[in-house]
Symmetry: C2
Subunit: 372 residues, 2 copies
C-alpha cells in the first residue's frame, strides 16, 4: 500500500497503513488497507484511558480541532479539554470508517492493480468490517482495552459490531441515536436514496468521472437524507411557510425557505462525498443486524462484558426511533450491564447530537465523568 | 370543446362540457373545460340531499361501484346503500379534480388549437380552480345548496376553497386528513417528488411521449409519496426486516420486503398517472393557504355559514399532522360553527381513510347520519 496521504483526508489525520490481507465479513479480500484517525489528549502510562469514537455515515476522523488541524471538527463542542469528552482525562481516538472517502480505504481509493478507483470492484462492505478495521488503529496505538466506546448513529452500529468482536475490550459504552438493526421505514428512505443515485444516467455502474458526476442523483439523495435527519417539528418552527430568496425560482419548486435550505445542503454535499462510498455505507446500515444468528438481541449481546452503558435517543428521530434505543438498553440491562436509557426531547430529530448541545453536552459529559 | 369521452376517465363517468371561458385564479384562461363526475342515489324533489366529494391528488370520480360501472371504486366501503355515505338518503356526487387526468380537463388534455396535450402550456393551477370547476357540475345538476361537503386529503383543501367561494352553499362539512395550508415537511416531500420528475432526462420540459416517458422520475416520486402516505409504525409491524422474493435482487437495493412493496406501488403508478398532471396537482397543495389575505385562519373562514363540521385526523399522519386538523377545527369553532374534532388512532398514516375502515366507517357514518 502506498504511504501517500490519501485524498479526502483532513489535514491533521494520521494513518495506519496495514500490509496484512483484510478479509471482508461477506467475502472478498484486500491486500492491505489504510485507516485514517485523529487523536486528542494523551494515553496514560497504564494505557487505560482511551475513548474511541466511531462515526456516522459521512463524518471524517476530524471530530474536533487540535494542534495539527485547528479547524472546527464535526463534534467540536463535544471533544476537547474540559468538554463532555474530556481530553484532559481521556486519550480520544476518532476513526474514519472503512469504506468512507475521508482518508480510510474505500471504494473511492485507488486499486493498486489498476491505478484507478476501486468503485464497484471494492468488496461488499459490512458494519463488521468497519469494526474490524478500527481494531488496526487500536493495535497500532497499543490499546488493549478502551475506557469507553462512543458511537453516534452508524457509529452505534459499528460499536455494537466492535463489542461483539471484542466482548471484553471496553469498560463503558455510550450509544447515541443508533439501533441494533434498521426498521423498514429507515430502509425505505435509504433504499430510495440509493435508487436516486444509481438511476442517474451519469452513475454508469460506478464509471462516473469528475467531469461527469451523478450530481442529480446525489442531490436528490441528500435532500431525502436531510428529511430523515431533521424533524417536521423543527422545520415548522424554523421555516413555516416562509418564501425563499436565495435561488432563482423555478417551475414546480423553489418557492419556500424549506426548499432553499435543502438545496443549500445538497449543493454542499453533491461533490463533497463520493457516490460509490455513499452507496456502500448506506447499504450496510440496512444489512446490519446485531441479533443475526442469535435467538434474540439479548443473546447476541450476552458475551459483552461492560461495566456500564448509556443509550441515548431522541423523541423526534424518524430514522432511528426512540423505541429502538429502548430495545437496545433493555437487552444490555437483561444481560446484567448497568444500563441507563436516556430519551431526550430534542426538536432536531436524528441530527440532534450534532446540533442540540444544550441537551447532549450533559447527557454525554455526565455519563463519562461518572465512569471509573 | 369536443364531446368525445376524454381518455383516462372511468367507464361510468359523466361529463359537463362547459363552453364558457374559465379564468384561472393565478391568471390564464381556457375557452372552456370538461368536468368528469359520477353520481350515486337520487336527488330529492327539494334538491337538498346532495353530498359532494372532492378527492385527493390521484383518484378519479369513481368513488364506488354503480350501475354504469360495477367495478370497485377508490372509496367502495364508504359510498353506497346503507354505507357511511348512504346513497339511499343522499344524492352523492364525486368530482374528478380540474387538472387531473381522469376525465376532467388538465395538462394531459388536448389543446384544441394545437391538437396536442397542453402540458406546460396549461395555466398555473390552484386549489381555488378545482373548487370553481366543481361549481360547473353543481350548476349542471341544478344543486343550489349541498347537504354536505366531504373532502379527504387534497379534497379537504378543495373543500375549504369551495366554502370560501360559496360560504352559504353547504350545511355540513366533513374534512378528513387535510389542512388549511401545507407545513414545511410536507412541502419538502412534495418538492422533492417534483424534482425527481423534472430531473428525469425524459421529462424534457413536458415534451415526453408514450415511448419516452419519465419513468424513473415517476418511480422515485411515487416511492417517496408512499413513504409520506403510510407510517413507519405500520411498516414495522407489516414488513419488519422480512426479505423480498418478488424481484431480482440488485446491488444497493431490493433485499427487503419493504423495497418490493414500494417497487410494486411504483410500477402501478408510473404509467397510470400523467407526469405533468402530477406536477400541477402536487404544486398547488404547497401553494394553497386558506388564510392567505386574512389576518388569521379564523378570519378567513368567518364568512362560511355551516350548521356543523367534523374534522377528522390521524395520529400517524406524517404529511398532514393531527395538529393541523385541530387548528382547522379551532378556527371553525371560534366562528361559532358546531365543530367536532375527531383524532383517530390509525396505524396507516395519511392513507388510513382509504384502508382503516373499521375506524373511518363510524367516524364518517355517525356524523352524516346525525346531520339534518
Amino acid at each position: 500500500m502506498s504511504k501517500d496521504i490519501p485524498p479526502g483526508s483532513p489535514p491533521g489525520s494520521k494513518f495506519v497503513y496495514s500490509q496484512e490481507p483484510f478479509r471482508f465479513h461477506l467475502g472478498g479480500e484486500l491486500p492491505g488497507l489504510t485507516q485514517a484517525y485523529e487523536t486528542w489528549g494523551a494515553l496514560n502510562p497504564a494505557r487505560d484511558n482511551a475513548v474511541m469514537i466511531l462515526t456516522g455515515l459521512s463524518p471524517s476522523a476530524h471530530a474536533a480541532s487540535h494542534g495539527d488541524d485547528p479547524s472546527d471538527g464535526w463534534w467540536e463542542p463535544m471533544v476537547g479539554p474540559g468538554k463532555p469528552i474530556d481530553t484532559e482525562r481521556f486519550f480520544v481516538v476518532c476513526i474514519n470508517s472503512l469504506g468512507s472517502c475521508r482518508g480510510s480505504t474505500g471504494p473511492a481509493s485507488i486499486n493498486p492493480e489498476t491505478g484507478r478507483p476501486w468503485r464497484l470492484d471494492f468488496p461488499e462492505l459490512s458494519v463488521q468490517d468497519i469494526a474490524a478495521a478500527a481494531d488496526l488503529v487500536l493495535e497500532h496505538l497499543g490499546i488493549e482495552q478502551l475506557h469507553a466506546l462512543v458511537g453516534p448513529s452508524l457509529g452505534g452500529m459499528s460499536s455494537l459490531a466492535w463489542l461483539q468482536r471484542n466482548p471484553e475490550r471496553a469498560r463503558h459504552f455510550l450509544c447515541i441515536s443508533s439501533a441494533a438493526a434498521a426498521e423498514p421505514f429507515a430502509i425505505a428512505i435509504r433504499s430510495l436514496q440509493r435508487e436516486c443515485i444509481v438511476s442517474d444516467r451519469l452513475w454508469r455502474e460506478g464509471q462516473y468521472s469528475d467531469d461527469e458526476w451523478p450530481e442529480t442523483g446525489m442531490r436528490l439523495a441528500r435532500k431525502l437524507g436531510m428529511m430523515s435527519y431533521r424533524s417536521p417539528q423543527e422545520w415548522s418552527k424554523r421555516f413555516g411557510r416562509l418564501p425563499q430568496k436565495r435561488y432563482t425560482p423555478r417551475r414546480f419548486g423553489m418557492d419556500f425557505a424549506i426548499e432553499s435550505y435543502l438545496e443549500s445542503a445538497a449543493v454542499k454535499f453533491v461533490r463533497g462525498f463520493d457516490p460509490c462510498c455513499y452507496l456502500y455505507l448506506s447499504q450496510l446500515m440496512d444489512t446490519f443486524n446485531a441479533a443475526e444468528g442469535h435467538v434474540s438481541l439479548q443473546a447476541a449481546l450476552a458475551p459483552i462484558q461492560l461495566q456500564s452503558t448509556r443509550i441515548i435517543g431522541v423523541n423526534t428521530d424518524i430514522l432511528w426511533p426512540l423505541y429502538q434505543q429502548q430495545e437496545l438498553a433493555a437487552a444490555f440491562e437483561a444481560n446484567g450491564v448497568a444500563t441507563d436509557f436516556v430519551p431526550l426531547n430534542s426538536i432536531q430529530g436524528h441530527d440532534s447530537f450534532l446540533v442540540d448541545y444544550d441537551r447532549f453536552r450533559p447527557a454525554v459529559g455526565d455519563y463519562l465523568r461518572a465512569t471509573e
